[in-house]
Symmetry: C2
Subunit: 242 residues, 2 copies
DNA sequence: CGAAAAATGTTAGAATAATCACATTCCGGG
DNA sequence: CCCGGAATGTGATTATTCTAACATTTTTCG
């Protein structure tokens, strides 16, 4: 049905990857077809393109945030606020570790474009944010991809993490319990988080207050492992002892 | 001058982080101001927001992304055609290696959603494509990110690659020379490509014909290392000897 | 080849958004 | 309390985009 059509769609996607936005007119000229046809093409592929008032944008650009979970946006405001506290802790030329989770995606997004950093991560979403920052030197811990959390389990690749000099580690959690500490949903994340915390000069727990009192299957740290706990309500010193 | 104003800007950013896109009308209602004011606010902060035909999106969403090379789409059609040949070689439950470069991004995109595979890659762009395929088990070789090519240089993480059982490796090149073999622009890619080729049962070079006769700084393989060379003009057996 | 179907192009009128000039409100300092 | 300037709102005007119906071309297949 559509060898010509498929080619167009693909050319569009490529152009978008390069330019970010494409006006209907430009797209039509680029593809050598009428604007009407471009409109129809774009409309036929809502999963790849988003069409906004005459402009074409790659669909995942506007994906409504990264929504790892349905709850990803339920506390977006709180998460954003918590990240602002984290941002204030970052100094130029720091080497930071950014954990996974929607909370820290916000942190990665908000890193100023002109702040020089080395950032270590193991989440595809975080990596995509960091890749867009020209002054961030990114190190991604690879391995087997886990779709549920958009992270990689490092396995054999984990060991070199211990040799990286981490200045500040920003860690998130699915649950925070004063007695038992911080927990998350995915077991493969545990060794990575622990290694990052162990190797960092200072670690900070970044969560929104809705996580307090929750418990997830995998505990990975005591609250006393953190120098501070950053929430939308402000930064507080972590309890000195579990 | 603007404590009220700053608050609005922040509220807008929050809403955007949550919703992805915001229509002028919604934004005005949300902030409790007139559409004109929202228009002015957004226009005053081009570094945070992009305004497209009545819709507001976060600026870094539309950041203009990857651009591996200026030539990325100049041969999009050819690259796509070359990938179709590659696709035909892939069987269910294969373990494949996908090299970097815009050509192979097309390959990753075109993997059918219902084809179960294990795929190894080291390019952020390819990884993003593979992450969208529910039946692909992805392994990403991490390391230091190289923005110019959107790839990772594996360094210490490279060694485990040798222990992965690769069924078919699909390799791209920036230049193909009958005498001297295949070359690429970035030196850090050389050991990865070589290790993949060495570890794979069969390797295939996927390029468009515009690459023939070109020479890039880093040679990484002889043409006889490949079982076949796949171009938009079809698959041909690789020369038996350099 | 020839008919049917799909894809593309064209047009005009309706809907929507952008711009501008000016009216109004809000706020801090005499 | 009043004044001046900044911020905001309003409405008319102009420009742009959207929609849908229909004309034309291209492809498919008997």
């Amino acid at each position: 049905m559509s060898s010509r059509k498929t080619g167009r769609i693909d050319a569009l996607a490529d152009a978008l990857a390069r330019r970010g936005v494409l006006h209907l007119r430009e797209a039509a000229a680029l593809l050598g077809v009428s604007e009407m046809t471009v409109r129809r093409d774009v409309g036929a592929h809502p999963e790849r393109f988003t069409y906004l008032g005459g402009h074409i944008v790659s669909a995942d650009d506007v994906a409504g945030g990264y929504e790892l979970d349905r709850e990803a946006d339920s506390h977006a405001g709180a998460k954003l606020a918590a990240c602002r506290h984290a941002l204030r802790l970052i100094a130029p030329d720091d080497t930071i570790f950014i954990d996974c989770g929607s909370t820290l995606v916000h942190l990665a997004q908000q890193i100023p474009a002109d702040l020089p950093l080395t950032a270590i991560c193991y989440s595809l979403n975080v990596a995509n944010c960091l890749a867009a920052k020209p002054n961030v030197r990114m190190i991604l811990l690879g391995g087997i991809y886990h779709p549920a959390s958009a992270t990689f389990s490092s396995g054999e690749w984990l060991e070199p993490l211990g040799r990286l000099g981490i200045n500040k580690a920003f860690i998130s959690a699915g649950g925070v319990d004063v007695q038992r500490g911080a927990s998350c949903s995915h077991f493969h994340e545990v060794p990575i988080k622990q290694k990052a915390i162990a190797g960092a000069i200072e670690s900070h727990l970044v969560v929104d207050v809705s996580k307090f009192g929750l418990v997830k299957p995998a505990f990975f740290a005591k609250l006393s492992d953190f120098r501070s706990i950053l929430t939308e309500e402000g930064a507080r010193a972590a309890p000195v002892d579990a």
